[in-house]
Amino acid sequence: MNIQISNASNDPIYLQIKNQIKSAIISGKLKPEEQLPSIRYLAKELRISVITTKRAYDELEIEGFVNSVQGKGSFVSMQNKELIREEQLRKVEASLLDAIKQAELAGLSIDDLKELLETLGGFEGVE
């Protein structure tokens, strides 16, 4: 797994770690039940705060992407297919909401948008 921390990014460091591990899980680079690097090891290698690393792992656990086992470490969760779908769905929703906002600025109605979506879907082809 690769993790890059950018100091130029406005995203907090914990968020950068969390998002990169999440996308490794979603893309399948990290498989269910696979062990994540220990918090202290990751912090040492990236030369970042242990507390910040822990915050990233804690949030991944709260969102259901990883399980922590006391004394053993953190593992990619088993039942995350549903989660991954939800996560993707949320992204699609966010993009659509953004599109609706932009459309309002341009004076387009929802019907205009639907039409546009169908046209674009026709061009791109649904995979």
Binding site: R40, K44, R47, I48, V50, I51, T52
Partner: protein, 286 residues
């Protein structure tokens, strides 16, 4: 990370023209804590009190839950100390340091000491007085790490060292911290590259703690930006922590959440935060 390696409660110490405290600081176990402030802010006085080298006027200091006054001799084995000066006779050779330390520490480990001496490329035949500042610092760190210490205290130890040596030291400290019962407290007026890995920053100013906070929270809360004089008039005054006026505009340290999102901001370093806050205080007093 539940326990505190160091607990300082209501510590005070006064000298002519200077008073420290009342200080309350907890250093959580397993963390790297940067203790920062200007020269003369009272950092060394605090560390000396922690080590029982000076007697506070009042207050209490506990290390690993034990009162330093009553348990100093046994606690000293568990604390590795690196000061900016090395308290070893000038004429002594590096290979003799081993024997010297065997007498000082009950828990001395010869093998570990040789490991670090080799890692740092120190020559056994060299006398202490012939060592450069960087070499002395490396020797001092080798000693601190060779008596099973669980707490490392570094006082201005890396200031004035070149970046390559500081980089090596950061690696050693992070190795040390792989054990979650280990703790590091570094005092410095300039943390530079060490700040990347710090968990907490305690900021001492004029003998008082201005804040002790998670380092990454600090860096997220504040931001730097440069604006012209007119734009600044429209900002929420609470957003401005400190500023530097110059002929062509102003550089500001601001609270990120109180700023309009359209303004371009960058992440500050701990040094930026320290300078702007102190300058901000001075401006407010004027």
């Amino acid at each position: 990370m539940l326990n505190n390696a160091i607990e300082i409660n209501n510590l005070t110490k006064s000298y002519a023209g200077f008073s420290l405290g009342p200080l309350n600081i907890n250093v959580p176990m397993g963390c790297l804590v940067g203790y920062i402030g200007e020269n003369g802010a009272g950092k060394s006085t605090t560390l000396k009190a922690i080590l029982g080298l000076i007697h506070p006027d009042s207050g209490e200091i506990k290390i690993f839950g034990k009162n330093i006054k009553e348990h100093a001799p046994t606690l000293m084995n568990r604390i590795g100390v690196v000061f900016d000066t090395l308290n070893i006779p000038d004429e002594m050779k590096i290979k003799e340091v081993d024997k010297f330390c065997k007498l000082t520490f009950d828990t001395w480990e010869e093998v570990t000491f040789h490991h670090y001496v080799t890692r740092f490329n120190l020559q056994g035949e060299q006398k202490i007085k012939a060592l450069s500042r960087g070499m002395k610092m490396k020797l001092s760190l080798s000693i601190a790490l060779s008596h099973q210490a669980e707490l490392l205290i570094l006082d201005e130890a890396t200031s004035g060292l070149d970046p390559v040596v500081r980089d090596e030291i950061l690696d050693i400290l992070l190795d040390f911290l792989q054990d979650e019962t280990h703790t590091v407290l570094i005092s410095s007026h300039i943390l530079s590259d060490l700040e990347k890995a710090a968990d907490y920053i305690a900021f001492l100013h004029n003998g008082k703690i201005l804040f002790m906070e998670e380092k990454d929270m600090l860096v997220e809360r504040y931001a730097l930006c440069s604006l012209d004089h007119e734009l600044i008039q429209n900002l929420n005054p609470d957003a401005i922590v400190g500023k530097r006026k110059h002929a062509f505009g102003q550089d500001l340290l601001v609270i990120r959440d109180l700023m309009p999102t359209c303004i371009e901001m960058s992440k500050p370093s701990i040094e930026d935060i320290m300078v702007y806050i102190i300058k901000g205080e001075e401006n407010a007093e004027e």
